[in-house]
């Protein structure tokens, strides 16, 4: 527990750049932050995925849950800058005496709210994962209504990539372009003229290499679920579900997909 005798550290203002991690889930931390400018996302990790449970703007507090729970538990969620942010950092020592002197009834009410918020966040995470699975089992159907259903999960991109069918020679590199990607699957366009003699059909598995940031190759294996002729001549669109990805690459994808 923080000592309240002696000097109380002054309020500090910190600047964060977009995507910076402010609080990490599972860490021990005592600071409380007030958002002065910018937006902060609150994320809960589940099964290797980060699920966003809240967005906080100016005037809102980040990190109060650990304080109210008595600083005895670890951070229950991560906080990440969604844009360039300025935060005021409060040392809990500033608040601890006041919190201790508060009537029991107010502390009990805060404690009850805290318990419920943890449960609601868990429910949101559970539902997010369920929805994502549902979407992937209906890749074809949902691709037509992507705008409505995939705002959060599927990122629209234009990433150059190389790929080859899993049973083809290892030095084969066919060019393609990833059009959208989620933690579960991706859409890709391929020019038929550049396929040589390879014919792709649903069910085929492909090795795909791309990069989300320069000089950092990300590899994955994906299975073709559907295939259709593109709007421009000689191009096809592939709808795929990821079948394998190394943990490190999965993490990179997770960060890449961060809104």
């Amino acid at each position: 527990m923080t000592k309240t005798k002696g000097k109380i550290p002054p309020v500090v203002t910190l600047n964060y750049s977009k995507t910076d991690l402010i609080i990490k889930e599972g860490d021990y931390g005592v600071s409380i932050y007030e958002v002065i400018s910018g937006k902060v996302g609150i994320f809960v990790e589940s099964g290797g995925a980060e699920i966003r449970v809240a967005i906080l703007g100016p005037g809102m507090i980040v990190g109060e849950m650990a304080f109210i729970s008595g600083n005895t538990s670890t951070r229950s969620a991560s906080a990440r800058a969604l844009e360039n942010c300025c935060l005021e950092v409060w040392h809990p020592a500033m608040l601890l005496d006041a919190y201790k002197q508060m009537p029991d009834i107010l502390r009990l009410i805060a404690g009850q709210a805290l318990k419920l918020i943890v449960r609601m966040n868990k429910m949101v995470v559970g539902l997010s994962l369920k929805q994502e699975q549902l979407q992937d089992s209906q890749t074809q159907k949902l691709s037509d209504q992507r705008d409505d259903n995939r705002k959060f999960y599927r990122k629209m991109v234009s990433l150059e990539c190389v790929f080859r069918p899993v049973n083809s020679p290892e030095d084969l590199e066919l060019p393609g372009r990833i059009r959208d990607i989620s933690k579960r699957g991706l859409g890709m366009t391929v020019k038929t003229s550049r396929l040589f003699n390879y014919i792709l059909i649903p069910g085929d598995e492909l090795f795909i290499s791309t990069y989300f940031v320069p000089d950092q190759t990300v590899n994955m294996t994906a299975k073709i679920i559907w295939l259709k002729k593109g709007e421009t001549d000689g191009a096809i669109s592939l709808g795929m579900v990821l079948t394998h990805m190394d943990p490190d690459d999965r993490k990179r994808l997770g960060f890449f997909l961060m809104p």
Binding site: A54, I68, W90, D104, I105, I109, A110, A113, M120, V124
Partner: protein, 131 residues
Amino acid sequence: MTVNSQVLGYIVSEERFSDKSVIIKEGSIGDWVYVILKGRVKIKKQTSGGLLTIDILSEGNFVGEMAMLKQSNSTRTASAVADGPVVLGLLDSVRLLQEWEAQPARIKKLISNLIQNLEEATKKAADMIVE
């Protein structure tokens, strides 16, 4: 859980509710707070898939505290329904509010922020439940 002795000092009257009777209705206005003295209360929220029970509260828990502590307005964010016969203690809202207002600004901000987050998390969970 038993009722905290300090909390008992805030009770101005006791109210009894029979099974399934509505104690607080979602969307209505009000900021009074109860503490459960006996029985259980279900907290329910309207979703597109019907009413969802988000919490079951028992002795010593508070009912209706969110509307009191949030800064925006006193619209009830969820309904409270008796789960079996219930005895509730109505708390002295004037005293409670005075004590709340007397808290340092940062403490107030901290707790009302927590309540606001809770409201949003509840709404988000409710919005995600379809059918």
